[in-house]
Amino acid sequence: MKRVSKKLLLSLAAVLLAAGMAVIPAYDTAADSPYRTYTVDGYGYVTETQTAYLPYAIITKVGEEALSGPTDFMLTDDGLIYILDSGNARVVVSDRGGNLVRTFGEGTLVSPRGLYVTEDGTCYVADRDARSIFLFDQEGELIRSYGKPDHPLYGSTQDFLPLKIVVNEAGTMYIICESNTNGIVQISPVENGTFLGYFGTNATNPSLWNIVWRAIQTDAQRAKSQANIPATPDNMAIDEKGLIYTVTRGEEERTLKRLNIAGTDMIAGAADAYEDTPAAVAVGNHDNVFVASSQGYIYEYTNEGELLFVFGGSDDGQQRIGLSTKLEAIQVDEEDRIYVLDSDNAWIQIYEPTEFTGLLHQALYLFSKGRYTESKEPLTEVLKMNNLFDYANMAMGRALIQEEDYENAIVYAKLAKDYEGYSDAFWEIRNNWLKRNLVTVILILLGAFLLYKVIKLLDKKKGILKPVRAVLSRIGNVRLIRQLRYMFYFMRHPLDGCYGIKRQERVSVASANLMVAIIILFTIINKYFCGFLLKTVREGVYDLVSDIGLVVIALLLVTGCNYLICTINDGEGKLKHIYCSFVYSLSPYIVITPVIFVLSHVVTNNEVFFVEFARLFMVVWIAVLVFISIREINNYTIKETVKIICLTAFTILIALLLAFIIYVLWSQVFDFIRSIFGEVVYKLGN
C-alpha cells in the first residue's frame, strides 16, 4: 500500500505514535533541494538566496484511488484535501496524510475544472461541459446547481463554460468562464442565482503603435484584432477579507492582481518580477501571495507585489524531487507548507518552509502590521543569514527610520534600492546636520564674505592682487584657453557668437574637441557618481566605451548630416564652422551639469524638482543655441532653418537605417565565410 512517498509514511507512523498530534513532523534524511531559490534586488536583477522551501512529501494516490489529470484542489481548515479528479469526473477527499475519506460527484460531473469549499463544508464545483456550478454538502450529496445566468447584461449569445470558482462569505460566487472576456462572472445565491455583473475585467493595453495601427485598419480588421480583446483571468483566490486575487497570462507586470469589492487592483506598483504563464494563485498566512507557474516555478510575493522568492522548476526528465511538469493549482496550509497540484504527474507535491523563510514570514507579518521595532529582531536574523536579501534590507531600513536611527537606516535603504526610504532618511540626516551646523555655516559664509570685502578693499587701495591678476590674465590669454572662454560669451550672445565663429576665427577645432572631451567627462561623472536618488544606472556597472561612443557618434552624425543637408540647400556654413557651432551650443551643458551634480547629492525626493528644472532649463537653452547656430552659420531664414532641422533628422534616420542594413548584410557574409572556413578546417583536420 504505497499511497504516499516514504517520508510521509514515516511521518504517519509517528503521528500514530504521538497520538493527537495535528502536525506531521518532518522526518528527513535527504533534504537538499535540486532547485535554486532566487529573489530580485532593487534593480529587478535576479540574485540567488537560501533555499526557501524544501520538498517535504508527495501524495501520489489517495488510499487506493489513483488520480487522473486532476485540475484543482483545496485544503480546508478541518485538515482535509478536496481534490478535483477531473479525469475521473469526481471529487476525492483525502486527509493530509493521503488517506481516503470519501469520493463524490460520480455521475453528476461531466468535465469539472474548478472547485471551492466553503467553511461549512459546502463544495462548489465548476463543470465546464455541464455548463453548470454544482453544490455538494459535507457528505457529498448534491444540493443544487446553477446554470447560465438568465440576465440581459450577461449576454444571450454568451456561452457559460465555468472553469474556476471562488465563493465569499455571503455565498456570492466568482466564476471564471472560458471564452468569456467580459471578466469574472459574479452570481449571488439569492433567487436561484442572480447575476450581479462582471468583475475585475482586465483592460486592454492600447500602445501608441496600436492606436496608429487601428486608425488605418478597416472595421473588419479591427474586430478581428487580438489586441482588442481583454485577457480572461486564468485563476483566482480569495482571502479572509474577501479580496480576490487573480492571475492572468499575457498581462506582463500586471499578471497578479489583488482586487477589492469594487474590482480595483490594489497592488499599486507593477510587480517587479512576473510570470508569463501563471496557473494558480493562493493567499498565505502572512499577507503573502503565492503564484504557481504551469512550468513548475513557484513565486512568493508580499501583498504589495514584491517578489520574495521564486523556486522550483520544470522536470526535464531527470526525475528529481521538487520539480514539476505541469502545475494546475496551489494551496498553503496553516503551517506555511505549500501544496502544488501537478496534473501531468497526477500528484500533489508538498514543500515546507526552511528556518530562513520562517524568520522572514515572522518579520513580514510584524512589518505589515506596523510593528516595526518588533520586526527588527527576526529581520536581524534574516540579514545574518543573507546580507543581500532585498526585502529584509528595505524593511530594516524602514524600521530604523521609525526608530529615528537615520544613519543606519540610510545604509539599508541604499542596499535595498529603497528610494523612498533613502529619501526620508536622507532628509532627516540633512536636517539634523543643518540644525547642528547652521550657525557654523552662516559664520563661515559671513567670514568669507568679509574676507572678500577686505581683500577687495585692500586691492583697491594697495593693489595686492595685482600679481595674481597678471598671472590669471596671462593664462587667460593662452590661445586655447581664450577660445574655450569664448563659450561663456557664446552662451549669452549666440548671434554675435556665431559671427565670431564664422568670420573672426574666435574658436578652433582643437578647442571644440577639448569641449567634447569635457562634455564626455562630465557625462561620465554625472552618470556614475551622482547622488543615489538620481542615479539611473545600476551600481557597480560601468560601460565607458558605449558612453563615449554615444556622445561621439551622436555629434558626428548630427554634424555630418546637417552639413550634407546644408550644402545642398545653399547653406554658407563650412564643416568646421558647423561642427564648432554645434559644440559651442552645448556650452550650457558644461556650465549647468556641475550644478546638477552637486544638487543631486543634497536633494531628497521633495526637492528633485530643482534638478529637473535645471535639466529642462539646460535643454531649452541648448535647443535655442542650436537653432540660432544653424540659422546664423548658414544664413537661413527661420522657415528655412525649421526645414533644415527636419531634413537633418530625416537624414539621420536614413543613415541609421543604412548602417543597420549594412551591418546585417555583412554579418551574413561574415558568417558565410566562417562557415566555409569552419568546414575546410574540419575536413583538413580529418
Binding site: 537538499d32 535554486r36 523556486f311 545574518k384 569552419g678
Partner: protein, 735 residues
C-alpha cells in the same frame, strides 16, 4: 523471503530440469562415454561450474557468457542473466538481460543500435583458465570484436575487456558503449529484499520493492562528473531564459555501485577499476521500460557530437563521430559480501579495505578541526578597470584567531581564498605574491608561520584549472572542445563573465612553478580546486586528448609534487584521494532523485577515520540544525566561509553569491559547533564507522568500531531508541 511465484517457478524449473535430464539419459547414452570435466558436473540455472575457491563458486553459460556467483556457505547466488522471465520482454530486451556483453553501436548518426551475444551472429571462442575463462567474441555482421576475461578471486570476481583486444575492422559500425554484465544481480520487481547503492552525492539506495511503474527512467551519471569537452545535449530550461534554476546533480566521486539482497544475505560492491574515467553508472528501478531492477557501468568508447560550421550553432552544424575511440582496459571488480556484511555498511568497509590495500587511500592525520575559510579580496568594476573589494586582511585573520582562542577554539583549519594579487579570480596563480591590499606577501608569510606555531592548519587556495581571460592572456594553452571550439565557462556574473580551462600540461607547468615559488618562502600548504573535480575530453593544437589523458596528467602532477608540498583538495575524485590530506566540501546529501529511497553516508563511512572530511559551507544552509545533525551522523567537520567585512560589500563582485559571511555573525555558531563536535569526534578519533542504520521513527544509529554509538533524531519530536530518550532534532553519544 521468496515469493509464492518464485517458489512455484523454482518448483517448475526443477521439474523441467529433471525431465531434461531424463531425456538426456534416454536419448544420448553417448554422453556417458565422454569423460566429464570436473567443472561440467554441477549446473545452476543453465550454467556450469567452472571455478571455485573457499568462499565462492563461479558458474558460466557458454552461449551467453553469463555467470553466476554463488556463496558456498549459504548456497545463495547472484546471476548476471536473469533466469526469471515475466513474459513481457521482446527479443532485444531478452538479449540485453542475458548477454554478458552489451554494446551500443554507432551507425551513421544513430548511436542507439544494440549488439549483444544472443540476437546477433557472433563467433565465440572460450578458453578456460584456472580461475575462470576468457572468451574471444566477434560480431560477424558488424566486424567488431573483443575479449572478455573473467576471473574468480578470493572475495569476488573480476571481469575485464583488455584494450588491445577491442577491434573495429570496418568503418561502418563503431562501438559507442560497452557494458560488461549489465544485469549482474538484477532481479524482478520485489522478488528480492534489498537495495541498489548508487554513488549519488554521499550515497543513495534504491530499494528492490515494487515501484508500480512510477519511474520512467533511472539513474545515469558519468563517473567523475560530466565532460566539458562535449556540448551538453540535454536542453536545460532556464528561468526567464537566463538563470539556471535546477542545480546540477552531484558528481560521482567514486567509481562504485552495489547491489544487496538483504534477505539472501548476499551482496556485491562493484569497483570500476579501469575505464572509469569515461564510463557512466546506470541504475534502473523496475518499471523503467522493463520490470527488473538492474545496475551496471557502461563504458563509453566513442560519442557523436555536433560539429558547428558557423557561429549560429542551431543552423550550421552536423552530427559526426569521434575520430578515435578511447583507449583503456575496461575492468570491473565485484567484491562479494555475505552474512552480516551484505549491506551498505559492509560495502563501505570492503571499499575502504580495497582502497587501503592497493594504496589508493592512505591514512592521514585526523584530529578534529573546525574549518574557517577566509575570503581576502575580490574585484568590482570601476570606471576604468576594476577596484579591489577587501574583505579580510592578514591582520583581520590574526584578530579572528585570537578572538576564537579567547573563546576556547584553537583546533582550526583554514583555507585562505583570494589572497593573491588581483583578488580571488585573478587566475591562474603563478607565483607567491599576495595582494598588497590584504597586507602583502611578507605579512602573509608571517601569518602562515604564526598559524603553524599555534597549531592551526593554514592553506592557501588556488584554482589550478581556470584562467581569467580578462586579466591574463588566454589565447594559447586553453582547451578546445572536441568540436575544436574554445571552451568557455559562463559565470553569469558582472565583473568577469567567462573563464577558460587550461590544458592539463599548462596547469601542471604553472602549478608546479607556483608550488616551487611558494616553497622558497617556506609556504607548502596548499588547497587546490578545479583540477580536483574536473575531467574533460579536449583538443589542443590539433591533437585530441581523452579524459584518461587528463586524469593521467593530474595524477602525475600531484605525484611529482608529492613531498614538496602538502595538498588538500576540494571535492576530489577517487583517483586523487591518495594525495589529499583532507577531503574538502564533502557532500552530505544526494541530488534528490525521485527514485532514491534513502540517502546513506556511504563515502563518509569509507573515509571516516582515514582522512578528515570537511563539510560544504554552513553559511549557505537554510536548515542549520539539520545540517549540523548530518555532520554528526557522517563524522564530518564543519566549514565556515568568513569575511571581516559585511558580505553586502560583495554585491557588485563575482562573489555576490556569498550572501552571508561576516565573522561577527558566525562567531557564536563556530564556538558552539566546535564545542559539541569536538567532544563527539574526540571519542571516535581514528575509529572507522562499522555500522549505520536508519530506523523508522526518524532515528539514525551510527556505530563505530571502537564501541561508540551515536544516535541522531531527525524528527522534531522526542523519540526513544534502545532505551535512550532523544529530544527532537538532537543526538546522543553512547560509549
Amino acid at each position: 523471503m521468496a515469493t509464492k511465484r518464485e517458489k512455484q517457478n523454482g518448483a517448475l524449473k526443477k521439474k523441467i530440469a529433471l525431465l531434461l535430464a531424463l531425456v538426456c539419459l534416454l536419448t544420448m547414452p553417448g554422453v556417458f562415454s565422454v569423460p566429464l570435466t570436473a567443472h561440467a558436473e554441477q549446473q545452476l540455472n543453465g550454467h556450469s561450474l567452472i571455478a571455485e575457491n573457499s568462499r565462492y563458486a563461479l558458474y558460466m553459460n557458454e552461449e551467453y557468457l553469463s555467470i553466476i556467483v554463488q556463496d558456498k556457505a549459504t548456497g545463495k547466488y547472484m546471476e548476471s542473466a536473469v533466469s526469471y522471465d515475466d513474459g513481457k520482454n521482446n527479443e532485444l530486451w531478452l538479449g540485453q538481460m542475458r548477454s554478458g556483453l552489451l554494446l551500443q553501436l554507432i551507425y551513421g548518426t544513430n548511436d542507439t543500435m544494440q549488439a549483444d551475444l544472443i540476437n546477433d551472429d557472433v563467433t565465440k571462442t572460450v578458453t578456460y583458465t584456472d580461475n575462470g575463462f576468457a572468451a574471444d567474441v566477434y560480431w560477424n555482421q558488424y566486424k567488431l570484436g573483443m575479449r572478455l576475461e573473467v576471473e574468480l578471486t578470493e572475495n569476488g570476481v573480476i571481469a575485464r575487456v583488455p584494450d588491445e583486444s577491442i577491434r573495429e575492422d570496418d568503418d561502418t559500425y563503431y562501438i559507442g558503449t560497452i557494458a560488461i554484465y549489465p544485469y549482474m544481480g538484477a532481479c524482478y520487481k520485489d522478488d528480492k529484499e534489498g537495495y541498489m547503492l548508487i554513488p549519488d552525492g554521499n550515497g543513495a539506495l534504491i530499494y528492490l520493492n515494487d515501484k508500480e511503474g512510477r519511474f520512467k527512467t533511472g539513474y545515469s551519471s558519468m563517473i567523475y562528473g560530466s565532460d566539458a569537452g562535449f556540448i551538453d545535449n540535454t536542453v536545460t530550461t532556464l528561468f526567464w531564459d537566463e538563470y539556471k534554476m535546477v542545480n546540477s546533480a552531484n558528481n560521482v566521486l567514486a567509481p562504485i555501485f552495489g547491489m544487496a539482497y538483504t534477505d539472501d544475505e548476499i551482496a556485491y560492491l562493484a569497483v570500476v577499476e579501469n575505464g572509469a574515467e569515461r564510463a557512466t553508472i546506470e541504475a534502473l528501478p523496475n518499471g523503467a521500460n522493463i520490470d527488473y531492477n538492474r545496475i551496471y557501468a557502461r563504458f563509453i568508447e566513442r560519442k557523436l557530437y555536433k560539429q558547428p560550421t558557423s557561429n549560429n550553432t542551431t543552423v550550421g552544424s552536423f552530427d559526426t563521430v569521434e575520430s578515435d575511440r578511447s583507449h583503456s582496459d575496461l575492468q570491473i571488480r565485484y567484491l562479494f559480501l555475505s552474512g552480516g556484511e551484505a549491506n551498505y555498511s559492509g560495502m563501505a568497509a570492503a571499499y575502504r579495505n580495497y582502497l587501503m590495500e592497493n594504496g589508493s587511500l592512505v591514512k592521514k592525520e585526523d584530529t578534529y578541526r573546525t574549518r574557517v575559510d577566509f575570503l581576502g579580496s575580490d574585484r568590482e568594476s570601476w570606471v576604468i578597470g576594476t577596484n579591489a573589494v577587501v574583505m579580510t586582511t592578514v591582520e583581520d585573520i590574526q584578530d579572528i584567531y585570537s578572538d576564537l582562542k579567547e573563546a576556547g577554539v584553537t583546533d582550526l583549519f583554514s583555507v585562505y581564498k583570494g589572497w593573491q594579487k588581483g583578488g580571488i579570480y585573478n587566475l591562474p596563480v603563478t607565483s607567491y605574491k599576495a595582494d598588497g591590499k590584504i597586507g602583502g606577501t611578507k605579512k602573509l608569510t608571517k601569518l602562515i608561520k604564526d598559524a603553524e606555531e599555534e597549531g592551526i592548519s593554514f592553506y592557501l587556495y588556488e584554482d589550478a584549472l581556470r584562467i581569467n581571460p580578462d586579466e591574463n592572456n588566454a589565447t594559447f594553452n586553453v582547451i578546445k572542445q572536441v568540436n575544436k571550439r574554445k571552451y568557455v565557462e559562463e559565470t553569469y556574473k558582472d565583473v568577469y563573465e567567462e573563464f577558460n580551462y587550461l590544458t592539463p600540461a599548462r596547469s601542471d607547468e604553472l602549478f608546479t612553478k607556483f608550488v616551487n615559488n611558494a616553497a622558497k618562502e617556506g609556504v607548502t600548504a596548499l588547497a587546490v580546486s578545479g583540477v580536483s573535480d574536473s575531467l574533460f575530453t579536449y583538443n589542443y593544437s590539433g591533437t585530441n586528448y581523452t579524459r584518461f589523458n587528463c586524469a593521467d596528467s593530474y595524477d602525475q602532477m600531484f605525484g611529482s609534487l608529492d613531498g614538496s608540498a602538502e595538498f588538500v583538495l576540494e571535492a576530489p575524485f577517487a583517483y586523487l584521494w591518495k594525495y589529499t590530506d583532507a577531503f574538502l566540501d564533502m557532500p552530505l546529501y544526494t541530488s534528490s532523485y525521485i527514485y532514491e529511497d534513502e540517502s546513506v553516508p556511504f563515502l563518509s563511512m569509507v573515509l571516516k577515520g582515514v582522512i578528515p572530511m570537511y563539510s560544504e559551507y554552513v553559511n549557505f544552509e537554510a536548515n542549520k540544525q539539520e545540517f549540523f545533525l548530518k555532520m554528526v551522523e557522517t563524522g564530518t567537520y564543519p566549514s565556515f566561509y568568513l569575511t571581516k567585512e559585511s558580505s553586502a560589500d560583495l554585491i557588485y563582485t563575482n562573489s555576490n553569491d556569498v550572501y552571508s559571511s561576516e565573522y561577527s555573525v558566525y562567531r557564536d555558531t563556530i564556538v558552539e559547533y566546535t564545542t559539541q563536535l569536538k567532544e563527539l569526534n574526540d571519542k571516535v578519533a581514528g575509529a572507522f564507522i562499522a555500522g549505520h542504520e536508519i530506523r523508522g521513527n526518524g532515528i539514525t544509529v551510527v556505530t563505530y568500531d571502537n564501541g561508540v554509538t551515536v544516535y541522531i533524531n531527525y524528527s522534531t519530536s522526542q523519540q526513544t531508541a534502545d532505551g535512550y530518550t532523544l529530544e527532537g532534532m538532537s543526538y546522543k553519544v553512547v560509549e
